[in-house]
């Protein structure tokens, strides 16, 4: 009797978890594995991939999402953050960086909204230079101070009050790669199936 009860307990415990996995991860994984990349989606360049690893290293994902909500669910559409994202947009993403927090704005189409390398570098050096009130951390270690810039250096022009004396501030390889990744974040190409607003029960 004890043995049978233990067996049922063991089986039940095992089954509940594996059923959950099958339903929420296993089956969807099988279904979505067939998704083809859209025509407009390009693979990351080497520099962008490197930038993406900097994005992960500095924990950008804890404050920025990379997913656009459909119309009628939040204000992403009204803020012109792009069409709703679809599974095909993410086929080259490993690890995924969908995010769960918007302390800062969504970055799925940041490259389309703000394509200036100078702006991004300034913003990374200290966000409050270009975005007063921001609580984003500064990333000065993505830059270095030099006596004079080399020909292929990217110099950033800081406000006078914080410019170091007799030195120039240039972006490091890491800083430029992260910027390349951000500018490359452009998912404005068309996709065949854009989901409609997914809540049919709620009245607006």
């Amino acid at each position: 009797m004890m043995f049978i009860r233990s067996f049922i307990f063991f089986l039940g415990v095992l089954a509940t978890l594996l059923l959950g996995w099958a339903g929420l991860v296993g089956i969807p994984n099988f279904m979505i594995s067939e998704v083809q990349p859209p025509k407009g989606l390009e693979r990351y360049t080497y520099e962008q991939s490197y930038g993406r690893s900097i994005y992960i290293r500095e924990g950008c994902l804890y404050c920025h999402s990379q997913q656009v909500r459909p119309a009628g669910f939040g204000a992403d559409q009204e803020r012109f953050w792009g069409r709703p994202s679809v599974p095909a947009d993410y086929v080259y993403d490993k690890p995924h960086l969908l995010g769960t927090m918007r302390t800062g704005p969504d970055l799925f189409n940041i490259g389309a909204r703000q394509s200036s390398e100078d702006w991004h570098l300034l913003h990374l050096y200290n966000p409050r230079i270009v975005s007063p009130g921001s609580v984003m951390p500064p990333f000065p270690w993505l830059f270095e101070e030099k006596i004079s810039a080399a020909p292929d250096d990217k110099v950033i022009v800081l406000p006078d009050s914080i410019t170091p004396r007799e030195k120039v501030v240039v972006a490091t390889r890491e800083g430029r790669a992260l910027t390349a990744y951000l500018i490359g974040m452009n998912h404005t190409y068309p996709v065949s199936q854009v989901p409609a607003h997914n809540d049919t029960t709620k009245k607006k």
Partner: protein, 492 residues
């Protein structure tokens, strides 16, 4: 003249009358003795990670208030300190303290001395090395990029290995049990021993890509709570509430219903973290339905715990353990109801992507789990260290700092988060308005966090005293309020 140390025999002779009671107590003391060293090791290292993790959490919180403070130091940037905080308190504090509690509980509930003690030492060492290695990696920016799975593979592997050694000892003890009846707490413990390793293995299969990786990520993230952290908390609450009050749990059958409904529904919840995202709608809907169905196990547990407590609230005045554990079980009811409602689409539209979620998470992991672990440690330590807590005032300080701190934390972030979400969803306002609006609430959060840290320091200090058997000698438990020790209390 009072004896300087209370020996095992004195403990046994305490208030015992018949030979049967003496042998019963003798047996219990022997069981407690068998777990002393491993449990102290788990608790001590767990509390170490608690203090470290709270410091990291407070630093991360202050970064919101003062974003340029320590801004030039890469390893102290918010994006690295935040995962350090989470992993330190979850895989360090809650897991190790929980493991210690499980060792003691299993031994007591099976009425058997702990078996394979060596495996517990190996487990504690591997686990701690894994956490330390993982945290150092995060400081240096080696992050796997997925929440709850940030640790590099070797660190996660060490922790997983440590878990297997731990599970081995628990299962061996269970097999040598001296009882017929298995108490509810044991169901949760045994289930989590099967669930957690399985969860970890399935999550690390490496077959996921794109949005299904996100589905796996949140299935894992939410299930780490479902199959490991919540069972620890519930096992503790199911044991300590009836134990301290001294009457049986309200209903065995509700316990059974609660357990199986919990097993059935909880692990379907995770995908609500991706509401509004690029996943098939049905997937999110399934998770929302399961989240709402969590009302069933939660009500069963709530009725069981609260109806056991009701009528005995006077005891909260005296017993530190009961006060912490009842606070924890009330938080469990609150956080579960909040979670079920939060999963609804109309609610998520505002609360998702905001500080509201952070408040919710802390109500669960701190208000529920950590408070129960505090209560458990206050109960277990005097029994295995053979020394009473020296300063009840410090326990009181710990309780109020933790209770008021977490209340302030949760209220501030729930309010601030809701305002943040409302403003974010109002396209007539610039995005930065939603940032500025949260600022006063984020200061309140930092204040709450500071209070919790003060509580932890009081707790850690007194923990060191008890393991070294320092401080004033007591012959009665360190109640909050009780008559002074009299001649009759002293051992004969």
């Amino acid at each position: 003249m009072a004896a300087q140390t209370t020996t095992k025999e004195q403990f046994i002779s305490f208030a015992s009358h018949t030979t049967e009671e003496v042998s019963e107590k003798q047996h219990r003391v022997e069981i407690d003795d068998s777990v002393t060293s491993p449990v102290v090791l788990y608790f001590l290292t767990g509390i170490g990670w608690l203090v470290f993790g709270s410091l990291a959490g407070l630093l991360a919180a202050l970064k919101f208030n003062l974003p340029d403070w320590l801004g030039g130091t890469p390893f102290l940037t918010f994006g690295r300190i935040r995962p350090v905080h989470l992993n330190s308190v979850m895989y360090g504090w809650a897991s190790l303290a929980g493991a210690g509690m499980i060792v003691w509980l299993t031994s007591r509930l099976c009425r058997a001395k702990i078996k394979e003690t060596w495996a517990l030492y190996v487990s504690a060492v591997l686990w701690n090395i894994g956490v330390a290695f993982g945290l150092v990696s995060l400081f240096f920016g080696y992050n796997q990029g997925m929440e709850w799975l940030e640790f590099p593979k070797p660190a996660g592997g060490l922790i997983a290995l440590g878990f297997l050694f731990f599970a081995y000892s628990i299962v061996q003890t269970f097999r040598k049990r001296q009882v017929e009846h298995l108490y509810v707490s044991l169901w949760y413990i045994l289930a989590s021993l099967i669930w957690f390793p399985l969860l970890y293995v399935v999550a690390n299969l490496g077959i996921y890509h794109g949005v299904t990786e996100a589905a796996m990520n949140w299935w894992f993230g939410h299930n780490a709570l479902a199959v490991w952290f919540t069972p620890i908390g519930l096992a503790g609450a199911y044991y300590f509430i009836p134990k301290v009050i001294g009457r049986p749990i309200y209903s065995y059958y509700l316990g059974l219903l609660g357990f199986w409904a919990f097993a059935l529904f909880y692990n379907w919840n995770g995908i609500h973290h991706l509401v509004g995202g690029p996943l098939p709608t049905w997937l999110v809907t399934v998770s929302i339905v399961a989240s709402v169905m969590m009302f069933v196990p939660v009500m069963a547990v709530a009725v069981n715990h609260h109806l056991t407590t009701i009528g005995h609230f006077r005891m909260l005045k005296y017993s530190p353990t009961l006060r912490f554990v009842v606070f924890g079980s009330m938080s469990y009811t609150a956080v579960s109801f909040q979670g079920s409602i939060e999963s609804l689409r109309s609610f998520s539209e505002v609360a998702h992507f905001t500080q509201y979620t952070i408040g919710h998470a802390h109500l669960g992991v701190y208000g529920f789990l950590s408070m129960i672990l505090f209560g458990a440690i206050y109960y277990i330590m005097p029994r295995i260290a053979k020394w009473e807590w020296p300063y009840p005032k410090l326990i009181k300080l710990h309780f109020w700092m933790s209770a008021v701190g977490i209340a302030l934390y949760v209220v501030a972030l729930n309010m601030g988060g809701w305002i943040q979400g409302t403003m974010m969803n109002d396209p007539s306002l610039p995005f930065i308005a939603s940032v500025n609006a949260t600022k006063p609430y984020l200061w309140a959060r930092s204040l709450g966090g500071t209070m919790m840290l003060v509580g932890h320091l009081a707790f850690a200090y007194q923990f060191l005293l008890i393991i070294y058997r320092s401080g004033p000698t007591r012959y009665v438990p360190a109640w909050f309020e009780l008559r002074k020790t009299t001649e009759e209390d002293k051992p004969v």
